[in-house]
């Protein structure tokens, strides 16, 4: 059976001692930084991205990066539960009931529930990826330039729909990101563009430098705005194992959360965020004792955490098969692949099967490592929460500097870091989400190239996007998403959801 052969190939690739080591390092580093409050998964990955480039083998590098991703996500839920400070919006839901459980002395059970739910969801979604990867790749290989343009439009529009706050601002962010992505040299004519005459930017702005600036530095600056003490509630976590009653109560939410998260994760732009919200709402509605929600209901941790992890994993599907990153984290992964010399897209599965399946298998291994490591290491993570924040600034700055420099040995990349640090901070102050910007930045050159190619193929007729059926369907989808966002009822609901989230 083909699927089985593929999975075996994947597991043999991922379980070499070398790759296991990188997976382990990635998971550990990811958790380590993810646990630090105020630093979300995206910022964590942006900061650790340069390190992975030093690994010569792209398979190991991407395995490590994927490990960082799960680690960061897990670390984020730990902070959410223990100090009610979610680093990423996807763990904001976990904080609601998780923190309440911790306050009533059940932090251990909450953490274990999160870990078990994540592991189960991770296992299921790994198989889903393996199952859907090949058929989707086959479809994607039929895609022409016009279809790719339409697909990217869907991705960008969805990222707008799911950004916080103003839709118009999010659209501005996408457009600005696309423009910034075009800085460098025009691929077709070779003409230099927007580089202000600086030869060092001929290859475009370094993706890692932009990401570190917009996410890493900007986030640090925001943390510096008011330095107040964090109250760490729990100094020691005991009673890790949930009771039998807990297990009985968490089983169904985990199953439902996994299903919801997996489906919603595939949607462009959705990532893990939508799944965890949907799951929380569903659990609250189905529960026999909805009054417990918000006061430490274990279902409120189990469901969203499973959905969160399932979505995080299935969001790899569009990136791996179509080459279209659907959220900022996937944009970072795609950027990492490009720097390693691999163009993300349907060809990866056929041309580099060991890389493709190796990454998929490593997802499961990463999840396994997380559950094995984190339950015993929880004491260490709790200690880490008490580390004063200010000692992190020099450490992060030193590693960001050397890390970004090590990618291309181009000192101009460091100026990009500083510039985009303040740029990202300014965006934050103007209540603009940086996520659509980064997505636009990665897709900018791809979108332009395919648009120009599609126009040449159609002899200059823009109707090509509407007359080709797949392309037309995708554009209708994009239009539908836009219309829905602007519907008054949805607009109101959307505002409510995001208010709840930031509360």
């Amino acid at each position: 059976m083909e699927l089985l052969d593929n999975l075996i190939l994947g597991f043999t690739t991922a379980s070499t001692l070398w790759n296991l080591l990188f997976c382990l390092i990635g998971v550990l580093l990811g958790t380590l930084i993810g646990v630090l409050p105020g630093i979300g998964a995206t910022a964590t990955i942006a900061m650790l991205l340069p390190i992975t480039f030093q690994i010569g083998d792209p398979v190991s590098a991407l395995i490590m990066l994927a490990g960082v991703y799960y680690g960061a996500q897990y670390g984020g839920s730990t902070t959410a539960i223990l100090i009610n400070m979610p680093g990423e919006s996807s763990s904001a839901v976990t904080a609601i009931d998780g923190y309440q459980m911790a306050r009533s002395g059940r932090a251990g059970a909450a953490l274990a529930t999160a870990a078990i739910g994540s592991f189960f969801a991770g296992t299921v979604s790994t198989f889903l990826i393996a199952l859907f990867a090949i058929p989707l790749t086959v479809v994607a290989l039929k895609f022409g330039a016009a279809e790719f343009v339409s697909l990217m439009v869907v991705g960008l529009v969805s990222s707008v729909a799911l950004a916080h706050g103003s839709v118009v601002k999010a659209m501005g962010m996408v457009v600005l990101g696309l423009l910034l992505g075009l800085v460098g040299t025009d691929v077709i004519s070779g003409a230099p563009r927007f580089n202000l005459g600086i030869r060092e930017y001929a290859d475009g702005l370094n993706f890692v430098a932009v990401a570190v600036g917009v996410f890493g530095i900007a986030e640090m600056l925001r943390n510096l705005e008011n330095e107040h003490d964090r109250s760490v509630l729990i100094r020691k976590v005991h009673g890790l194992l949930p009771t039998r009653e807990d297990f009985r109560r968490m089983a169904a939410p985990i199953l439902r959360g996994t299903a919801l998260g997996s489906v919603l994760g595939i949607l462009p732009g959705a990532g893990a965020i939508l799944g965890s919200f949907a799951s929380y709402t569903v659990e609250k509605r189905l529960s026999n004792h909805p009054e417990e929600f918000g006061k430490g209901a274990i279902e409120g941790v189990a469901g969203p955490e499973s959905a969160n992890n399932a979505g995080a994993q299935t969001s790899f599907i569009p990136m791996l098969t179509l080459g279209i990153p659907t959220n900022p984290v996937m944009a970072l992964m795609a950027g990492a692949m490009i720097i390693q010399g691999i163009v993300p897209g349907p060809n990866v599965a056929t041309e580099q099967p060991s890389l493709f399946w190796g990454i998929i298998a490593s997802m499961w291994i990463g999840n396994l490592l997380l559950i094995v490591l984190n339950l015993p290491l929880i004491g260490l993570w709790v200690k880490l929460l008490t580390v004063p924040y200010y000692i992190l600034f020099p450490i992060i700055m030193a590693f960001c500097s050397i890390g970004v420099y090590s990618v291309n040995s181009n000192v101009y990349d460091l100026y990009v870091v500083a510039f985009f640090g303040i740029f990202g901070y300014a965006l934050m102050k103007m209540r603009c989400e940086p996520a659509p910007l980064l997505l636009g930045f990665v897709l900018g050159p791809l979108l332009e190239e395919n648009l120009r190619r599609a126009m040449i193929l159609s002899k200059g007729d823009p109707m090509t996007f509407i007359t080709r059926p797949i392309s037309a369907t995708l554009l209708v989808l994009a239009a539908a998403v836009l219309v829905i966002v602007f519907l008054p009822a949805v607009k109101k609901k959307r505002a409510e959801v995001f208010v709840e989230e930031s509360a």
Binding site: Q54, M220, L221, L224, I402, A426, M430, C432, L451, P462
Partner: protein
């Protein structure tokens, strides 16, 4: 006549979009435009820049209608001490070598927080430098010079 009140956050944001749009529009204008059939390097960016200006105008109009949240406190000290760290590193990594460059970058960034005292900052920066030296130079074998020509090496 009622005077127009502009929400500061959105007003700035609109102006920022328009400024960015105009910058890219001007830069694209110089480039070859081409035709819709064979787009030149300036075609797509000019289109995007126009959209950005338009979005900026929309945000600006919204700013006169709704009062949003204020901008809030700014991390001046952070900006002043965090941002120069990578720039300084970039300026000196070739000349001084990466050991002094990292040390100074870390040391500057230390004072971004009001809580950092000089002695712990010194120790911390030294530790970070040492660690970075072993990881990047010894461990990963990057071809960086630990000490550069400005120091007589």
């Amino acid at each position: 006549m009622k005077s127009i009140r502009i929400d500061s956050t959105n007003g700035l944001c609109g102006a920022f979009f328009i400024a960015c749009g105009l910058f890219f529009a001007y830069q694209s204008w110089i480039l070859d435009m081409g035709t819709a059939l064979r787009m030149g390097p300036g075609y797509f960016p000019l289109l995007l820049a126009a959209v950005l200006v338009l979005l900026g105008i929309v945000v600006l109009i919204q700013a006169t209608r709704v009062q949003g949240e204020p901008i809030g406190p700014l991390a001046w000290r952070g900006m002043l001490l965090i941002l120069p760290a990578p720039i300084f590193f970039g300026l000196t990594v070739r000349g001084l070598g990466f050991v002094p460059a990292i040390f100074i970058a870390a040391f500057t960034a230390s004072f971004a927080s009001v809580r950092m005292k000089p002695l712990p900052a010194l120790i911390l920066s030294a530790a970070v430098t040492l660690f970075a030296y072993f990881v990047f130079s010894k461990g990963l074998n990057l071809p960086f010079r630990p000490f550069g020509p400005w120091l007589g090496f």
